[in-house]
């Protein structure tokens, strides 16, 4: 005999996590660039998050927490390890690019871009730049949220973001 009622913790996890499902799936696919791996990654992320939900501190950023789990899971996967190893060691160097270096790529970008070209250009970015660009421009996360998600200082977020935009513009240049 059953009476109505569910585990309250599991209940609230589902309520918080399922609205993020589409976003997380999309972001995961951008990371893995493969549908099967994406599904594995998302499934594992939800399983890990549910398991660790008791350690999630209420009142803190749930979205950043979920993205962090997803990203860390990705980084420890075979594809993730391979992707991060291909990134040049000087990626953290530089800092925000000077305007003179940008050569107003936006103009070029606007003239030539179409979705497929932009998608290919994003795909071509090394994963550390791809993820920061997507978290900022697609997920509209604040720098603080991104820093929290990626577990890096805010200055690193800003320099990676600047570099990502510059690289994207270069890829879209004729």
């Amino acid at each position: 005999m059953y009476v109505s009622g569910t585990d309250p913790q599991s209940d609230s996890f589902e309520e918080l996590a399922m609205p993020l499902f589409d976003q997380l799936y999309n972001f995961a696919h951008w990371l893995t660039q493969n549908r099967e791996e994406t599904e594995d990654l998302v499934q594992e992320t939800y399983a890990k998050a549910l398991k660790g939900f008791s350690s999630f501190q209420s009142g803190t950023n749930f979205r950043a927490w979920m993205y962090r789990i997803l990203r860390n899971t990705f980084l420890t996967s075979r594809t993730g390890l391979k992707a991060t190893l291909t990134v040049s060691l000087d990626v953290e160097e530089g800092g925000p690019a000077l305007a003179s270096e940008r050569e107003t790529p936006e103009t070029v970008f606007m003239e030539r871009s179409d979705w497929q070209r932009v998608q290919r250009a994003i795909d071509d970015l090394p994963v550390v730049f791809r993820e920061v660009l997507l978290l900022c421009d697609l997920e509209e996360m604040s720098y603080r949220e991104i820093a929290e998600t990626l577990s890096v200082p805010m200055g690193t977020v800003m320099s990676r973001l600047s570099r990502a935009r510059r690289m994207l513009a270069e890829r879209l240049r004729p």
Binding site: M1, Y2, V3, S4, G5, T6, D7, S10, D11, F13, E14, A17, M18, F21, D22, Y25, N26, H29, W30, R35, T38, E39, V42, Q43, Y46, A47, L50, P96, L98, A99, S100, T104, E106, T107, F109, M110, S113, W115, V118, Q119, I122, L133, L134, C136, D137, L138, S142, Y143, M158, L161, S162, R165, L168, A169
Partner: protein
């Protein structure tokens, strides 16, 4: 390039990450500077294009259902369900408990019956006019006498240095199984030693050595070498135990 300091912060401005006072100053500058306004417009459009292009991958309904199912809250049993569960478990425990108790009682009853029968044999034999069929204090006479009469053989202890003396023996039956009934004497006490094949009764205890008191007789029983021994008599428990020790040693088992 008077706008250089502004342009370096254009992305931060468009991402809404400048402190509020700097945001206001930037707003004012962009409204008054055509070059910065054009750059800002281009970058905003770029951000929009990235957002549109990046919304690319959509999970299948099947995969969504699969993940939801894996995390969905499991129905838990309520108080009523828990009550029924506890009641069921209690009933099972009670039934098992009763069965064990019943089994225990049955075993105890059978055991009691066995020892009573042996006590009867002991008393009946001593009351008869010829308690033993082989009258001898010599173990080398008594032991061979049983040859061909019972389906097993046994060793008897050397009693030279003890207070016990062997009076003799006879064939007896317990639950239709033939066995040896030996009678020993200790001072004025006559003590019976019964030896049967080990499977004589399933009701006897499995413990290697049992010391008991039945109908005020002291008893000790044990299994050894495929045989089951039982000593019964009105001698003290210590005396019974001592005789048991002698028999065990003669059969190669350390006395305990």
């Amino acid at each position: 390039m008077v706008c250089e300091p502004w342009k370096t912060q254009l992305d931060t401005y468009l991402d809404g990450e400048l402190p509020s006072d700097q945001m206001h100053a930037f707003d004012a500058h962009v409204r008054s500077c055509a070059s910065c306004a054009a750059d800002a417009l281009g970058r905003v459009q770029m951000k929009h294009s990235i957002r549109a292009a990046a919304k690319r991958f959509v999970p299948s309904a099947e995969f969504r259902r699969q993940v939801r199912q894996s995390i969905e809250a499991k129905p838990r049993r309520g108080v009523a369900g828990l009550g029924w569960m506890i009641a069921t478990v209690m009933l099972i425990l009670l039934a098992v408990g009763l069965a064990i108790t019943s089994l225990g009682r049955q075993q105890a009853r059978q055991e009691q019956q066995l020892y009573s029968e042996l006590a009867d044999l002991h008393v009946g034999t001593l009351a008869s006019s010829s308690p033993v069929d082989v009258v001898s204090s010599d173990r080398h006479t008594v032991k061979p006498w049983f040859q061909g009469k019972i389906p097993f053989t046994f060793d008897l202890p050397e009693l030279a240095n003890s207070e016990f003396s062997l009076l003799g023996g006879r064939v007896t039956y317990l639950e239709q199984t033939p066995g040896a009934h030996l009678i020993y004497q200790l001072r004025k006490h006559e003590i019976s030693v019964f030896i049967f094949p080990e499977g004589v009764s399933r009701s006897k205890k499995a413990e290697p050595s049992v010391v008991a008191k039945n109908l005020s007789f002291n008893m000790e029983s044990w299994s050894q070498g495929g045989l089951w021994y039982c000593i019964i008599g009105d001698a003290s428990r210590a005396d019974v135990h001592e005789l048991a020790g002698l028999l065990k040693r003669s059969a190669g088992l350390p006395a305990f």
